[in-house]
């Protein structure tokens, strides 16, 4: 094994796992002293081209409380056809199918390269994917038109046997029946009335067929999903119908008087969508896709009144406890989200409006169910169109990059317990021996449900070392963790992916260096950030920042090399060197700072932060800045105001935005039209280079970032200026007027100042 970096990389590639610590402190006490908890980022469905699923079912440990899956770490007695569970040490018989097992004829799950393995389950009903469109009709004409086109387009991307349904809403909620010939039918609901699932199903006429259906289910489990609903029909049957229906979709016809918002019954619409699926396809992969162009203004889940003169709540209102609808609405959507999750469905929200649309209240719908949240200005933008199209992107096998109804189970060896998870999941409340009492994130369980996930969906999983200091682990002992993800593949099969990893234990006192070297500061930064963001949801912003600062200081105290009270002597080893910088940018990030962000934006950013993988998360924490100039090939530069130079083109990727910024000179050149002159073709190329790179990012990223092309002095330049480290501001005189860089008009502290303080505090014996 080469360096830890390589080891980490390899582990990530193979298992989709990154641990904050790759050598684990062997006792609880030591672990707590490490400041950064033992945790990992898990990408359960990480795309692996080299991992064809095996066509049989996993072998489970026979101990009822364990049920771990046979894995390469198990000890196998080939003669006795026995294997020992590496978690509970139970000795198990191999099942009859494994009688031919020998050292040379091992099943895949015993081979070390299959520390991650995927099983395909043949049992059970194969239910088609379900897509239920919930469409807001209170849109501007062109917005609605664009949305209709996108929806029509999406029909062609769906697999032919997928079921689709359509609910439209405005003042009323209409559930469209898709099977009918001739007259188009829809069931209409009042937008102001909260209905129970039972009522909804009764009103949709679903309850009666449900009776025979249940009988049918018990008799012929295969049959039921296909017979039922008039509201959900296979695409191949009704795509013409639905295309026409979408084409005829009109704006909400109810008059909106001057000074009022249109009445939008988002809350009821969602409730009906949830109720509909709940009644017809429980525990079947389904996406409820909500397209909304404004805030819910009536009924349960309303976020703002219909009077335009009362603006939608801001952070300021929330702090002042002035957001009168927020609590109730949030409760409504939380209730819906939990029901949806219980049924294994997920909710996507596509909110396109210039003002807020209530994402703050609705965020739980996506966060709990693993749905997507997309925020844009209008449905008539490429941001929405591309993003939406990307939902239906396919992998190399032609399958959607989405999976449904996953259950993630985590098993640990005895020295560890599970503290919790942060990510787009919901607890299944399965208490077990390996569940810690101390919660980090969503805890108290060893199983979580992830109703919708894709290959990049990443969870932060936090552990607690419970081994007591006085019960040392024998040298060379390894701790093991098994992640078992059962899910519905987009090809509708049930699959189980099993990842089993092991790490060495080390005694923190004697082997601190090992532990230190095995620190993955990137993973740690993201994991700590998730914790911070998680706390920010429920705590006051400043408290979270203080907590983060304290953690950072403690980490520096623990792992820094310094002389007491001498800040100049402070050093951090390589494996920690970037960490404070991440924290600096994290503190400034929109995940923790609400200033300048609307509550909706904050929710949106946090949503994505909690589900993206490590690379993307890092970009979010600390945007990437590339510089293009005549001085050399494009190069990454420091995210610092000093990097803003007149003769440079900068490309910044913050994950949510791609900003191309032309330095002052470049901008002038372009204005002068040099790029059009044949003799300055190189300038043209220079201008083009960042555009191409940006395109590349745009192509791959989900959701598609906001693309900003600006220049020195442009109003949009703020996107760049607000991100860079304000090393030069109007406050530090020495930088003022200098040729290099651009002063940022801010009172924020710069990284330099931040680091100075950090060092001072770290070396201070007072804290």
């Amino acid at each position: 094994m080469a360096t830890y970096l390589e080891f980490i990389q390899q582990n990530e590639d193979q298992d989709g796992v990154r641990f904050s610590w790759n050598v684990w402190p062997s006792s609880r006490l030591e672990a707590t002293r490490m400041v950064v908890p033992l945790a990992c980022l898990l990408t359960p469905l990480k795309e692996r081209l080299d991992l064809p699923p095996v066509q049989y079912e996993p072998v489970l440990c026979s101990r009822p409380t364990c049920k771990a899956i046979l894995n390469p770490l198990c000890q196998v007695d080939f003669r006795a056809k026995l294997w020992a569970c590496n978690f509970c040490f139970q000795r198990n018989q191999f099942p009859p199918a494994y009688t031919g097992i020998t050292e040379v004829n091992q099943p895949a799950e015993l081979m070390p390269q299959f520390s991650t393995i995927e099983y395909m389950i043949q049992r059970g009903a194969q239910s088609p994917l379900i897509f239920l469109y919930v469409v807001d009709t209170c849109l501007e004409e062109d917005d609605l038109q664009a949305l209709k086109e996108s929806l029509q387009m999406s029909l062609s991307l769906l697999p032919p046997d997928a079921l689709v349904g359509l609910i439209t809403f405005g003042r009323m909620v209409q559930v469209h029946e898709l099977s009918c010939e001739g007259i188009s039918k829809s069931y209409v609901f009042r937008g102001t009335k909260d209905l129970t699932a039972k009522q909804i199903q009764d009103m949709l006429g679903l309850s009666k067929p449900a009776m025979p259906m249940q009988q049918a289910r018990s008799a012929q489990p295969q049959e039921h999903p296909f017979v039922s609903s008039r509201f959900l029909q296979p695409v191949h049957k009704i795509d013409m119908n639905l295309t026409d229906l979408l084409g005829e979709l009109q704006r909400d016809p109810w008059p909106v008087t001057q000074g009022k918002r249109p009445l939008r019954s988002t809350g009821v619409a969602l409730s009906i969508a949830v109720g509909l699926l709940e009644g017809t396809f429980p525990n079947t992969g389904a996406r409820i896709m909500l397209f909304t162009g404004g805030p819910p203004t009536q009924g349960p889940g309303m976020v703002v009144g219909d009077e335009l003169k009362t603006p939608i709540r801001s952070w300021h209102d929330i702090e002042k406890d002035n957001a009168r609808f927020m609590k109730k609405a949030t409760k409504h959507y939380e209730m819906l989200a939990n029901r949806t999750a219980a049924n294994g469905h997920c909710i996507d929200i596509y909110a396109c409006a210039l003002d807020q649309t209530g994402l703050l209240e609705m965020k739980c719908c996506t966060n709990v169910t693993g749905g997507h949240m997309v925020m844009g200005d209008s449905f008539n933008t490429s941001l929405f169109k591309q993003t939406f199209q990307r939902i239906f992107s396919k992998d190399f096998n032609g399958n959607f990059r989405m999976a449904f109804g996953a259950t993630l189970e985590v098993k640990t060896s005895r020295e560890l317990k599970i503290a919790g998870t942060i990510g787009p999941c919901v607890s299944l409340n399965v208490k077990g021996p390996c569940v810690s009492e101390n919660e980090l994130g969503v805890g108290g369980t060893s199983q979580w449900k992830i109703c919708g996930l894709d290959p990049t969906t990443t969870l932060g999983i936090y552990f607690e070392v419970v081994n007591q200091h006085n019960a040392p682990i024998p040298q060379g002992g390894r701790g093991a963790i098994q992640f078992v993800t059962q899910y519905q593949h987009s090809s509708t099969q049930r699959r189980i992916r099993v990842t089993t990893i092991a790490r060495n234990w080390a005694d923190a006192q004697s082997q601190l260096k090992h532990i230190e070297a095995a620190f993955d500061q990137e993973a740690a930064a993201v994991l700590m950030a998730r914790l911070g963001v998680f706390r920010a949801e429920s705590e006051e912003g400043p408290d979270v920042l203080r907590w983060l600062d304290r953690q950072l200081i403690r980490l520096c105290q623990k792992f820094g090399q310094y002389n007491k009270e001498d800040s100049t002597s402070f050093r951090l080893s390589d494996s920690f060197s970037l960490y404070p910088q991440f924290m600096f940018h994290l503190r400034r990030s929109p995940f923790l700072q609400v200033f300048n962000n609307s509550p909706d934006e904050s929710s949106y950013y946090r949503h994505h932060f909690a589900r993206q993988d490590l690379t993307q998360s890092l970009i979010m924490i600390q945007p990437i800045l590339y510089a293009y100039s005549f001085h050399g090939p494009p190069e990454p530069v420091l995210l610092d105001s000093g990097s803003i130079l007149a003769d440079r083109i900068l490309l910044m990727d913050t994950f949510f935005q791609i900003v191309i910024y032309l330095g002052e000179t470049i901008a002038q050149w372009r204005k002068a039209g040099y790029q059009d002159m044949p003799e300055y073709e190189n300038f043209k190329h220079l201008l083009q280079a960042p555009l191409d790179d940006a395109q590349e990012i745009l192509q791959a990223r989900f959701p598609m970032p906001r693309y900003i092309n600006t220049e020195h002095g442009g109003s949009q330049a703020r996107f760049l200026l607000s991100k860079v480290n304000p090393s030069q501001t109007h406050n530090n005189l020495y930088a003022w007027g200098q040729e290099t860089g651009a002063p940022i008009l801010t009172d924020d502290v710069s990284l330099q100042v931040f680091m100075d303080h950090l060092k001072k505090l770290a070396v201070s014996s007072a804290s």
């Binding site: 001739g182 069931y187 609901f189």
Partner: protein, 1091 residues
């Protein structure tokens, strides 16, 4: 039959008798023995019938005023005889029970012979009357009718005395035989009358006496009670002769005397024999003599004597022909008043009967088509009114259809200032307002307040104090006119939008299976072209919408821009709302293709439905909400099949329980099951949402509850039990077309203002009232009628009379807000006689029926019936006591104007609601109950007393409607074919021995036995008879607001039971009394009151 059992009357009767005997002998000669017979009267009722027959005159009563009567009587007698013999047979059949006999001796006849002045009087009187006839007025006045009935006591009881009683019937016949003879002469006389009127006149004594009475009371004595009245009237003014001649056969003696055993057989004896029926008909205010009337009565005693003769007949039964005949009255009125227009320039004029075709010229009072009153002469004080017990009521039909010859009310536009009103009582300008001070002010004719005339309305007065422009302004010269309303009269101060019609169709299993939905959808396609239009508008302004429903509702978007209609299902029936706004209510011509497409598809879409449950209240709610959302008034057409048992507001359960009938709980069958509908109706009214309900039940649907909303919103209910397309298609479609095309006023408020002194206190009809004065009508169509009752709250002034002003504020079909004003001036009187002389029995019955039908909601049916009887008895007793000339208490004396009151009232009493037969369902009763509530006078008239038309009696060439016959089985001859109609049902009764040729030409089958019983359509055959009959059926249908389904009934067939139910003069299976019996009973009641 209660009557029979009540013995009490014996005594009273007994007393009067004495008088009789004397007379009898005199008049009848042989009959004197009759004194004895009276005893025989007592026993049984049934008997009377035959007795009655003897005296043919009954029918006459009304039409020909006194003068006419006499001749008539004579004329009738013959007929009477014929029938009589008939009866004899009938008696035999009834035999046992019918020992009682009522004699109704034709007043005239006996009198004629009787030398005594009194006795003679009648016949003679007739003659004298004749003279008056000289004055050739058509108006018919009837002399009082006397009916002296002697009931033959039940054989056993009086057996000894009467020896014959048992055989009574027979002897009767024998007597009769003789009787007729006796009568014959008078007949001749009578007949002679017409011919030789002059001679009659010559009959000096009477004439003289007459005049004298006219001059003063004194004369009375000389006159025979009954006659007198008649004389008084007819004598001078009326030229009855015309009358007589016209209806020679039926003519009644002026005073029809009925001697019959009244209800109480036991009491019968002499008294019974004696009781007289006085009918004083004074039609027009015309007759001066009337006033005298009162006084003449004293003469009544003579009456007593008259009855005498009948007594001689006692053994005989009361002759049905001798009791007042509705047919006769109707015919007479037709003949007398049908030819000349009714001009409304005189205060307190009694209009012709509703059954008479006449033209109206509006010259200051509203046409009787709009308003009819129970009395056109109102007592000045409440004391008098209370004494008379005659309800003061007006039956108002504000939007009544007019014949093409009459112009609909002028529309007056006063521009922005709006109609001119009294500042205090808010009455609208009308011809009775008095302009004073040279025209600068006017005094309100209702409250006497003096108001300024606004400058723009000022006009000079002429020398009579009338405005110079009075004849240019409808509101100053006409009884009925309209104002254009200003915005102040509109809801929310906004002119209304044009109204909308919403068709709401039940598409549950039953409706689909019966073929209703398909039929309806097909029909609607063409029907939509005939929505009501205003004036000459090219297309209707009314928008339409469609909803179908079972236990959920389906709304349809039929916007013209759509290629296909869109269906929107609302399942939230608990909390109904309208799912769409734009495209629900559309203009027919714009959305024609979409609508057609929808109507094509509805039957297909639900063809396979299994849904049997329906909702009801949410449907109405939805329609109402839709109108609310569209901010307009309108009408919902609901087509509903079953009891709404689906879980929803207004859910009903089957609570039909026949065991409740005749218990104190019976009323619950008429009450709504839940208050929800009342509340809903209230909301509907507030929105101007009128609901028309078409029911197609296969079983109990609880009409009582379902009809609450239609009832309160001014809608109609139609019921087609066990609907089958083949059989009921025509009826349903015809009703539907008519209902859709009807002119309707929406969102209406009606207010009736009256002169100080009386006040409108009670209202009957299809409407809602949230306070005590304003009648709120979500919709008011041309057939809807409101009956208003008035009570005194002060004195009225004889001079100024009493004024009524009915103001109806409504939205027209085109969405115009208008005020329709009807004014009517009535006379006031201090004498009861004036009141009785100016009454209208048809209107009275209309009121009483509505009153009773409302009563069943709160009281046991028995109580309601008793109340009716009591009231009727009080009315008649009051008359007897105060207006009729003194006479033997045994005489039944009826006011001329009310002589049909007993027969009609009996019809009301035995109607399905008040006395249900075994085959009448709870739903039927509730249905009829609410139907009657908004009927006008003509409808109630024929509904309670059906028309029975012989088809084969008159020659085929005769194209006019054949004269009706009385609704009694004995009027049917088995060699004839009859049509019977009551406005709802239409029967064609075929006698068993009808000529084959007739059968062939009418039914296209070879013999009677081949006729399909229950047939509902006559084959279209090209022969005169077939054409005539079908033509007649068509014309009958055209007269009625609802299509009458034809049912062919063969004599002796089981369907005949159904038919017989409508022969209202007969005893009904459910226990309803026959006319004769009832009359006796009434007499008994009256006597009781008098004693």
């Amino acid at each position: 039959m209660n009557i029979n059992q009540s013995a009490p009357p014996t005594l009273p009767y007994g007393q009067p008798q004495p008088a009789y005997p004397g007379y009898h002998p005199a008049s009848y000669g042989g009959q004197p023995g009759s004194t004895v017979p009276p005893a025989s009267y007592g026993p049984s009722y049934n008997g009377p019938v035959p007795g009655y027959q003897q005296t043919p005159p009954p029918g006459m009563s009304r039409a020909p005023p006194s003068s006419g009567v006499p001749p008539a009587s004579t004329a009738q007698t013959p007929g009477g005889h014929a029938t009589y013999s008939h009866f004899g047979q009938g008696d035999v059949q009834n035999g046992p029970s019918s020992t009682v006999q009522m004699q109704r001796h034709p007043g005239p006849q006996p009198f004629g012979p009787a030398p005594l002045a009194p006795v003679v009087s009648q016949p003679t009187v007739l003659q004298p009357y004749g003279p008056p006839p000289t004055s050739t007025q058509v108006t018919t006045q009837l002399a009082g009718m006397q009916i002296s009935g002697a009931a033959a006591p039940a054989p056993p009881q009086t057996g000894l005395d009467y020896g014959p009683p048992t055989s009574g019937s027979f002897p009767n016949s024998g007597l009769y035989g003789s009787y007729p003879q006796g009568q014959a002469p008078p007949l001749n006389l009578a007949q002679g009358h017409p011919g030789t009127q002059p001679s009659q006149r010559s009959a000096p004594p009477q004439a003289s006496s007459f005049t004298s009475p006219a001059s003063g009371g004194p004369r009375m004595p000389s006159m025979t009670g009954p006659l007198l009245p008649g004389q008084g009237f007819g004598g001078p003014p009326v030229s009855q002769p015309n009358h007589v001649s016209s209806t020679p056969p039926q003519a009644l003696p002026p005073g029809t005397q009925m001697t019959g055993p009244p209800g109480p057989p036991p009491s019968v004896h002499p008294s019974q024999a004696g009781y007289q029926l006085q009918q004083n008909g004074s039609f027009g205010p015309v007759r001066g003599p009337q006033p005298n009337y009162g006084s003449p009565y004293p003469g009544a005693p003579t009456f007593g004597s008259q009855p005498g003769p009948p007594q001689s007949l006692p053994p005989k039964r009361l002759d049905p022909d001798a009791i007042p005949s509705p047919i006769q009255v109707i015919e007479d009125d037709r003949n007398n008043r049908g030819s000349e227009p009714f001009v409304t320039d005189v205060r307190g004029q009694v209009p012709p009967l509703v059954t008479t075709n006449f033209l109206v010229k509006d010259q200051g009072n509203a046409s009787p088509r709009y308003i009819r009153c129970t009395s056109y002469n109102i007592p000045c004080t409440s004391d008098v009114a209370k004494q008379a017990q005659v309800p003061l009521a007006a039956v108002i039909k504000p939007l009544a259809r007019l014949p093409p010859e009459e112009a609909s009310p002028y529309v007056v536009d006063h521009g922005e200032s709006g109609p001119l009103r009294c500042n205090r009582c808010k009455a609208y300008m009308c011809p009775f307002m008095q302009f004073i001070e040279g025209g600068r002010r006017f005094q309100c004719c209702f409250c006497s307040c003096i108001n300024d005339v606004p400058p723009q309305y000022f006009q000079h007065l002429d020398h009579t104090g009338r405005r110079v422009d009075a004849y240019d302004r409808p509101e100053l010269s006409l009884g009925s006119y309209e104002f254009l309303a200003t915005v102040d009269y509109c809801k929310n101060n906004k002119f209304p939008s044009p109204p909308a019609f919403i068709f709401m169709i039940d598409v549950s299993y039953n409706a689909i299976r019966s073929g209703l939905v398909r039929l309806l959808c097909e029909e609607l396609k063409s029907l939509l072209d005939f929505l009501p239009r205003e004036g000459g508008a090219e297309e209707s302004a009314i928008r339409v919408g469609f909803v179908t429903y079972n236990k959920v509702l389906h709304f349809y978007n039929v916007k013209s821009s759509l290629a296909q209609p869109q269906m929107m299902v609302v399942s939230d029936v608990a909390d109904m709302f309208v799912p769409l706004l734009d495209g629900f209510l559309v203009n027919v011509s714009e959305s024609r293709t979409v609508i057609t497409s929808l109507l094509d598809q509805i039957p297909e879409m639900f063809a396979d439905t299994r849904e049997t449950e329906t909702v009801f209240a949410p449907v109405i709610q939805a329609g109402m909400e839709a109108l609310k959302a569209a901010e307009c008034a309108g009408k919902l057409f609901l087509f509903h099949t079953s009891l709404p048992i689906a879980e929803a507001p207004g859910k009903l359960k089957n609570r039909d329980d026949r065991k409740l009938i005749n218990t104190d709980k019976e009323k619950t069958l008429f009450q709504a099951q839940t208050g929800a509908y009342q509340t809903l109706a209230k909301e509907c009214v507030a929105q101007g949402c009128c609901v028309a309900l078409f029911l197609f039940p296969n079983q109990y649907v609880d009409v009582a509850t379902l009809s609450v909303v239609p009832q309160l919103t001014g809608g109609s209910v139609y019921k087609y039990a066990c609907f089958q397309v083949e059989n009921d298609q025509e009826r349903f479609l015809s009703d539907l077309c008519r209902d859709v095309q009807k002119v309707v006023g929406f969102d209406a408020v009606m207010r009736v203002r009256t002169s100080t002194g009386i006040r409108a206190v009670d209202f009957f009809g299809a409407f809602y009232m949230s306070n005590t004065t304003d009648v709120e009508l979500a919709g008011l169509d041309v057939d809807k009628t409101v009956t208003v009752e008035f009570k005194h709250d002060d004195r009225l002034n004889e001079e100024s009379g009493a004024l009524l002003q009915c103001a109806l504020l409504y939205t027209s079909c085109a969405g115009q807000r208008r005020l329709r004003i009807h004014n009517l001036a009535l006379n006031c009187c201090t004498q009861l006689a004036d009141l009785y002389r100016n009454c209208e029995t048809d209107t009275l019955i209309n009121y009483m029926a509505k009153f009773a039908y409302r009563g069943v909601l709160n009281s046991p049916v028995k109580t309601v019936r008793d109340t009716l009887i009591t009231q009727c008895a009080q009315i008649l007793a009051c008359y007897r006591k105060n207006c009729a000339s003194p006479s033997s208490a045994g005489q039944l004396i009826l006011p001329e104007c009310m002589k049909l009151l007993p027969v009609y009232l009996n019809c009301v009493l035995k109607s399905d609601v008040l006395q249900p037969g075994a085959e009448v369902t709870t739903d039927d009763r509730a249905y009829v109950r609410q139907l009657v509530t908004s009927m006008d006078v003509a409808e109630t008239n024929v509904f309670f007393y059906p028309r029975l038309l012989p088809l084969t009696k008159s020659p085929i060439e005769n194209t006019t409607e054949p004269p009706a016959v009385r609704a009694s089985e004995e009027r049917l001859s088995n060699g004839d074919i009859y049509l019977l109609e009551n406005g709802l049902n239409l029967f064609l009764w075929v006698g068993a021995s009808v000529q084959q040729g007739v059968v062939q030409s009418l039914f296209n089958v070879s013999s009677f036995s081949h006729i399909t019983s229950g047939l509902s359509v006559l084959p279209v055959l090209d022969n005169p008879l077939s054409k005539k009959v079908r033509g007649l059926i068509d014309s009958l249908r055209a007269q009625r607001s609802r299509y009458m389904k034809l049912i062919v009934v063969k004599q002796e067939d089981k369907l005949e039971m159904l038919f017989k139910h409508f022969l209202v003069e007969d005893k009904s299976l459910s226990g309803g009394a026959s006319y004769v019996d009832f009359l006796c009973h009434m007499h008994k009641e009256i006597r009781q009151l008098l004693s």
